[in-house]
Amino acid sequence: MAPLMGDPGVSLWLLRGVYVILTMCVLFVQLMPISLTPAQWAPPDVMLAISLAWAQRRPGILPIWLVAGTFLLLDIMFQRPPGVWAALGLLTIEWFKSRERQNTEVAFAVEWLSVAGSVVIMTLMYRGILLATALDAGPLHLATWQGALTVALYPLVVLASHFIFGIRRTAPNETDLKS
């Protein structure tokens, strides 16, 4: 994707397009009625992993409106209580975006740990909010699977973003790539 890096404005919009297409792919795959029996495990939240990885590398790709729209759409399509997971995801991603400005050089292990921590906190808060409003939060082992697989997927997402879409951490002097 080297030619894309030439014009930062164009590349930003292209990558936003890629983000929307990836959202559609996730929707598509998860909604396919392959197994209609209750599963013993839960798939990872792929869009959360992608958003977290990109937010720390090229925060300009993910403006608030794009993340908000995507996550609300996923909430609506996946039959979740609308708004809760979207709000938590948006706040987490914005937090990572603001953190990106302060330190561009972070060891990957630290980054991975902070992602894992935020996924755990998001899951706990989500379940807390559902319980506080007297809603059924679903089996705990499914939530555990979902969180664990999301964290496990994260390094793969980072690698794929790097090699397929050329999304990597920008050096501090390349301010034009940030927004």
């Binding site: 930062p8 404005g9 930003l12 559609m24 929707l27 598509f28 998860q30 909604l31 396919m32 009625p33 392959i34 197994s35 209609l36 029996t37 209750p38 599963a39 495990w41 839960a42 798939p43 300009g60 608030i64 409106w65 908000a68 609300l72 759409l73 609506i76 399509m77 996946f78 039959q79 979740r80 209580p81 609308p82 708004g83 809760v84 979207a86 709000a87 948006l90 706040l91 914005e94 909010i129 409003t133 809603l135 059924d136 679903g138 089996p139 499914l142 979902q146 301010t175 034009d176 790539l177 940030k178 927004s179």
Partner: protein, 302 residues
């Protein structure tokens, strides 16, 4: 755009914060609104799903078919075993078929004697399963028939044999069926052998537990369980499955519908005509015929 923002970042930060706060508050507002007035938001959700899914289905249907083909291909490995098993089952079936023919003839004769008219209201609309819920926390499917086809919220969905779920959320061209395995599904049922009332409560497992049985001592594994029609949720007498007991001794339903392969669903038209308003008592037929005493529970007459 990126460069502009780089220069004027200091002005944008507070604005961005406000925007973020506004969006988060709006999301929480949506959630609270959904919590208070769920049907309105769910109708909105059904409209969005209705707009998105049919546009995806052109690709989704072949992909699903392909994945099913793959899983079918895997089962070729055990084909010989399956063949033998099917032969055994076929022999058993032909015996049952003979019995069924005889019973059918007897039934027809008896019906003729009784001058029974079958309930014309229990017809169905067949739909194709388009999508599932997309999340392992909810057990629902989306079928390709909606309000345009006359589907109404609350109707029962069956596969060829047994009850599958309940329509909850109808769009113009799609409707959502909450399966019996979903954690929000609660179906009033009756165990036919002992006439015990019970509730089939979904809990995200393939065999939903049976709750609130009047007297569990009368219930044996293998008994048939059908909808009771209580609370006007469903027409009475739709087959749910058979009773089984799990390792903890808890009564569960072995569902009659084949949840592994739900491709087509029958949505049972239900116009609620069985509703009995007056107290149970003597029912005197309109035309000639013997007087019959209504059963104690007025809800059984479908």
């Amino acid at each position: 755009m990126a460069q502009e923002q780089g220069q004027t970042q200091s002005y944008f930060v507070p604005l961005k914060r406000m925007f973020l706060g506004g969006v988060v508050l709006a999301f929480l507002g949506i959630f609270i609104f959904w919590r208070i007035d769920s049907p309105r938001v769910e109708r909105f959700r059904a409209q969005i799903v209705d707009a998105v899914i049919p546009s995806l289905s052109w690709a989704m249907v072949p992909m699903t078919a392909l994945s099913q083909l793959v899983s079918d291909f895997q089962s070729y490995q055990s084909m010989w075993d399956q063949n033998q098993q099917l032969r055994r089952e076929l022999r058993l079936m032909s015996r049952w078929k003979e019995a069924a023919y005889q019973l059918e003839q007897e039934n027809a004769r008896l019906r003729d004697l009784n001058n029974v008219r079958l309930d014309p209201q229990l017809t169905y609309i067949t739909g194709v399963v388009l999508a599932d819920s997309g999340s392992p926390f909810r057990q629902t499917v989306l079928v390709n028939v909606g309000s345009n086809d006359g589907i109404v919220d609350g109707w029962a969905a069956m596969d060829g044999i047994g009850l599958v779920g309940r329509v909850s959320g109808v769009g113009r061209n799609t409707s959502r069926v909450v399966l019996l395995t979903d954690a929000t599904s609660k179906i009033p049922a009756v165990i036919t052998a002992s006439d015990q009332r019970a509730l089939v409560v979904g809990d995200n497992t393939i065999a939903p537990p049976i709750d609130f049985v009047e007297n569990p001592d009368f219930v044996a594994p293998g008994d048939q369980i059908v909808t009771s029609g209580d609370g006007d949720v469903f027409p009475p007498g739709l087959l749910i499955g058979s009773v089984s007991e799990d390792a903890d001794g808890r009564l569960r339903v072995r569902l009659a519908a084949d949840y592994q392969r739900l491709e087509f669903l029958r949505i049972i038209r239900d116009h609620g005509t069985r509703r009995v308003r007056q107290l149970p008592g003597l029912v005197i037929p309109e035309d000639d015929g013997p007087e019959t005493v209504a059963p104690n529970d007025g809800s059984i007459d479908g």
